[in-house]
Amino acid sequence: MARAAGAEVLHSPAAATISERSTRTHVTDTIATSALRFPVRTHALGNGMRIICHEDRSAPIVAVHLMYRVGSRDERPGRTGLAHLLEHLMFEGSLHAPKGQFDDLLERVGGTNNGSTWLDRTNYFETVPSNAVELPLWLERERMAFFLPVLDAEMLEVQRGVVINERRQSCESRPYGMADERLHEMLFAGGHPYAWPTIGYMPDLEAITLDDARGFYQTYYTPGNAVLVLAGDISAYDGIALAERYFGDLPPGPSIPPLALPADPAPSADVSHETMEDDVSFPRVYAAWAVPGYGTRAWVALDVLAYLLADGDSSRLQRALVREGRLAQDVDSYLYPTALCGVFGVVATARSGIEPPALESAVRRVLDEVASDGVSDDEVLGAVRRVRRDQVSELAMVEERAEALAYAATVLGEPEALERVMDLYAAVTPEEVRRAAEEWLGAHRAATLVVVPRAGGAEVDDAA
């Protein structure tokens, strides 16, 4: 459940492959974790578009990843969901690659493609056999330069319907599907741009106009606001030449107004606690904290803490809530690698007969113990190894590696920041983990949402 959900959005600073470097032995003498490296060549086009090339010849494929520095945080209240709806529209064709061709052309050459929208960024990505690398570049050029002429009311209505269905499928119709939305509203009271869901509110999705979509596109979908990564079976020389050919002549686009940020991204000081009913069989407790943003030293310590708390059956929360305490069916922790600030979360589902307060206080007790008594060398060592296991798994695919590089460039300013963040893990000390819990995961900073079974919610359940 939440493990997968957390990991999926957690485009963590994962790493893979290549060269062995010096063995770091910080925590104990046995932490043999050679650093993971991925060499890149970067290049800037005249219009400001940044190009990142990462060569890896182990499979005859190339990942093309185009990331725009725009996400739901750039929307305004009343028009939430606009960034994601526009992402859907961008698959509906362009002047010279009309509707249906995008997926069709890529599938014909054996490629895949997709896109996604999140708080800080929107990405479009294709993986193709290496002979076909020019095709996604041409298609991305098409929709960067020739999308507006094909954007019309009918296209908007169809994709509005698809997105409304996506929202129903992943929120309204899914057990606990409204919890994350409410949790973020509680955590980011006061108009912070992480307060609203990326998929958007239903009335806003109904209200978005063609002009909204056009304006958003013209503002943000520009070369100057984009990073392009070419990863895999292609040289940097060829990659840069192709980037120049397909994007070098595009106009840079307008400069983007800076995001007006609230002074303090943290919640408004007081404990917030709510209960929500849903059509579910078991109560589930969600707790979340606003914490330092992706790539900071504190964020890395918190990531180690997230693994130490709930990844692996010997972890603190698994033992206290599931294995020994027998209060929960499952428990998970996660940390969003978001830019303005991070979000640390703990989610636990009650066992039969267990009431939410027991879960809440058990979670609190574990966090308090970490903050007051600290953690052991071995706990940190194991957690760092499990982080590394997941980083290696994730970045085994060039598509994921391309995304991680694009994200580092978009959020931290340069792709090399990815290795720097990864290297920070080996230096995390038990004291830093303890301090992170004490400083950031205090009870007074938590937003807590309890989802409980709907009262009297007996369902019609007869098969016809």
Binding site: V162, E166, S173, Q329, R389, V392, S393, L395, A463
Partner: protein, 438 residues
């Protein structure tokens, strides 16, 4: 900003010949006790994916206790002859190993993903949990209670209810008709001793296989496997499969499972499908790709999603099994268009039966399937998964080498025949969880 129309139009690029896919050609051998080994080393990613496959799926479990195989799988890491559950988890977590048992209808698979530097210790742990679990009473009761809670929670989601109902409709009392994780009655009733009996009967080296993929030294792998699995002996009891059903009892009919206040209806269309070893498997893959193999460009996706905007996605697939184990269409749509979506799905299925697919559309499907081959062997886990499927279903070892030619050989007549055999609305059951008016 200058108007974008002033940007030059570039021609769509012409592409060179596709690269030759690099299909792994693993080393195969057997240990003295009969355990088959498939080793596919490749440098690059400092990781090893190990996948141990046992003929110990839910089909092998006692009929009166559905859920036995699943409980056994989940209890492997909960205590062994020499190590307590807590110690086991502490060791696994300190290594950073990811252990994931999965129990299907035909097989139980235990996947262990390791950093290369921890290979020897990881294999020792894998061998210990697979060959010497003890099913301690307190852990057994905990896992039993958690499994029962998970079954209840599963029913909260209409998609799960639809999936379970579809299996039941297609396969009835055949073991494929019950989810591989079992039933509440079975999980509640199965005695702890029966878990050990199941393990002793089906977790044996002769009949099992292990696949290793990723960065490792083949000699080190062989030595670690020999050391870890040395004391394991015997052959798995043969699994008796009942005959597959001739046709679903409700074939040609619609089954509605009402769901109060549903905003969406979950739709499933299920037929019997074909066994993984069936000579038509690749032809069926091409026919299915045309209909719903790709959620956007397949005929179903083009119609229900791209044209109508009724759904976020729709897809269809044949399941792999020792016996025919299902062909399934799945989607979720606005509740108001449920009847229309079911009708359009049937129309697309019938259209593949009634009209020969034209050359261009068939060409496109073949290209999409053949040319995606280079992507299929990118990571240790994907290599381990594909090799274990070949080995477990006893498919030809050069399957992937021959795959492009086999796809190329599929004809429009083949597609039409497959459609008649598998996509005929009279041979499938339509399942709706939600509401359906009219």
């Amino acid at each position: 900003m200058p108007p974008k129309s002033r940007v030059a139009v570039l021609p769509r690029p012409t592409l060179g010949p596709p690269p030759a896919p690099r299909v792994p050609h693993p080393e195969r051998y057997a240990l003295a006790n009969g355990l088959r080994v498939v080793a596919a080393p490749r440098a690059g990613v400092p990781q090893v994916a190990l996948r141990l496959v046992l003929p110990a799926g839910s089909v092998a479990e006692p009929l009166e206790h559905p859920g036995t195989a699943s409980l056994v799988g989940h209890l492997l890491t909960e205590g062994t002859e020499s190590t307590s559950a807590d110690e086991l988890h502490a060791r696994l977590d300190l290594l950073g190993a990811g252990v994931a048992p999965s129990v299907g209808h035909d097989f139980t698979e235990v996947e262990v993903v390791l950093l290369s530097e921890t290979l020897a210790e990881g294999i020792a742990l894998l061998a210990e949990i697979v060959t010497r679990p003890t099913f301690p009473p307190d852990q057994t009761e905990r896992i039993r209670a958690e499994s029962l809670d998970a079954l209840i929670a599963r029913q909260d989601e209409p998609a799960n209810v639809a999936d379970d109902r579809a299996l039941r409709e297609a396969f009835g009392a055949h073991p494929y008709g019950t989810p591989s994780f079992g039933t509440a009655e079975g999980i509640r009733a199965v005695p702890r001793e029966a878990l050990a009996v199941f393990h002793a009967a089906h977790y044996r080296p002769a009949g099992a296989l292990v696949v290793a993929a990723g960065e490792f030294d083949p000699d080190e792998l062989r030595e670690a496997l020999q050391r870890g699995f040395a004391g394991w002996t015997g052959a798995a009891e043969p699994v008796a499969y009942p005959p597959p059903p001739a046709r679903p009892a409700n074939a040609g009919r619609l089954v509605v499972h009402p769901w109060a206040d549903a905003e969406q209806s979950e739709i499933r269309v299920i037929g019997l499908g074909m066994e993984r070893r069936h000579p038509d498997w690749i032809r069926a893959g091409v026919a299915n790709f045309l209909l719903g193999g790709s959620t956007i460009t397949g005929r179903l996706g083009a119609n229900l999603r791209e044209d109508k905007g009724w759904t976020y996605g729709v897809r269809s697939a044949f399941s792999a099994g020792m016996q025919p184990s299902g062909w399934l269409v799945e989607t979720a749509v606005d509740v108001e268009v449920t009847a229309d979506a079911v009708a359009e799905t049937m129309r697309e299925m019938r259209r593949l039966m009634d009209e020969r697919v034209d050359d261009a559309e068939l060409r496109r499907a073949k290209d999409a399937l053949m040319l995606s081959l280079p992507r299929l062997f990118e990571t240790p886990t994907s290599v381990a998964g594909r090799l274990s499927t070949l080995e477990a279903y006893d498919l030809p070892r050069d399957w992937w080498d021959r795959y492009p030619a086999a796809v190329e050989a599929v004809t429009a007549d083949d597609v039409q025949r497959i459609a008649h055999e598998h996509f005929d609305p009279d041979k499938v059951v339509r399942v709706v969880v939600g509401a359906m008016e009219g």
